[in-house]
Subunit: 192 residues, 2 copies
């Protein structure tokens, strides 16, 4: 017998329902999916209803048919919405110590507990010194609202203007630097 607490926790991932959703989206039946995966429709039925948990090889077979990653089945949920008004953003503490901060952040999704993204409004001020290179999370997205922003990702430097956007893997070292003369503001979205 499977431990109850583990079973419950696993079911919170709703692996089965997600498989079913993928299947229905492609308008497939269980037998049809069974044919594609080489698995019996009986077992697929049980998996979809959380009656048993597939082994990783089995789950991978299913994932391959739908062209999705395994992590498609493991992202946690937590229905919630958080509105952040322009004038009521939470200003985030400046990371560094005694230096004059080259930029400031305001959270755009602070109230979210189980977040899959972190969204910030960033304002780059002062002299055009690059921020300390840092790396975190898994991906980062930046959209320039005003001014000019230079972004350095793993040595590669690009200059962004208003309306430009950049997306990159934030596991590699990266840094920002205000370009041009005036201030620069941008939306920054990162994934944990």
């Amino acid at each position: 017998m499977l431990s109850d607490t583990l079973t419950d926790e696993l079911e919170r991932y709703r692996i089965g329902p997600r498989i079913k959703a993928l299947r229905l989206k492609k308008k497939m039946g269980l037998v049809q999916l069974g044919a594609h995966t080489g698995l019996s429709s009986a077992m697929l039925s049980k998996i979809e209803r959380g009656q048993l948990f597939p082994t990783l090889p089995t789950l991978l077979r299913i994932a391959l048919v739908f062209g999705v990653d395994l992590d498609h089945f493991f992202s946690k949920e937590g229905p919630r919405m958080a509105v952040t008004r322009k004038g009521q953003r939470l200003r985030l503490p400046v990371p560094a110590g005694g230096e004059i901060p080259a930029y400031s952040f305001e959270s755009l999704d602070y109230p979210i507990a189980d977040r899959r993204m972190d969204a910030y409004f960033a304002e780059f001020t002062g002299p055009a010194n690059p921020s300390k290179p840092h790396q975190h999370g898994s991906a980062e997205f930046i959209y320039v609202l005003s001014g000019r922003l230079n972004v350095n990702v793993d040595g590669e430097e690009v200059s962004l203007e208003v309306g430009d956007a950049v997306y990159f893997d934030s596991n590699v070292p990266h840094s920002y630097c205000r370009g041009g003369i005036g201030n620069c503001s941008a939306i920054v979205v990162t994934t944990p």
Copy 2:
């Protein structure tokens, strides 16, 4: 015996190495981890070296000890950067059929292959009709650039003005609707 191709594909997730990394970060030994998880050190050793793949309950036990989500073991890697210039965005095809589209999308991260976010520049035009309710991905973030935008998440409706932002779970049905008189543009970021 496990199918070779499946095994190879599974190993690309490097589940074992990730467990080992977590363990070493906490300066744990295999026996110690075994004590915490209730698993034998022998098996943990095999799992770390990809000699066998844990069942989901087993993997969950390990995850719980380290305080990580299951998807921590399934995220794929792929360092890359994609810059999208304001005038060179890829206009995305309008989903619906013959109707007048109420909004248009321009991708802000199109070149990224293995993306963890999808970023769009959206422009809401025409009459203030709500878009068809839809649900997808796992999370969504919207930042209003101009005009006024009404967002409906699972029945809950909010009106956003310039500079406002909203974050919500996009597994639940949601829809947009241009508010006010003029057009409305926004940044939309979603996670897959």
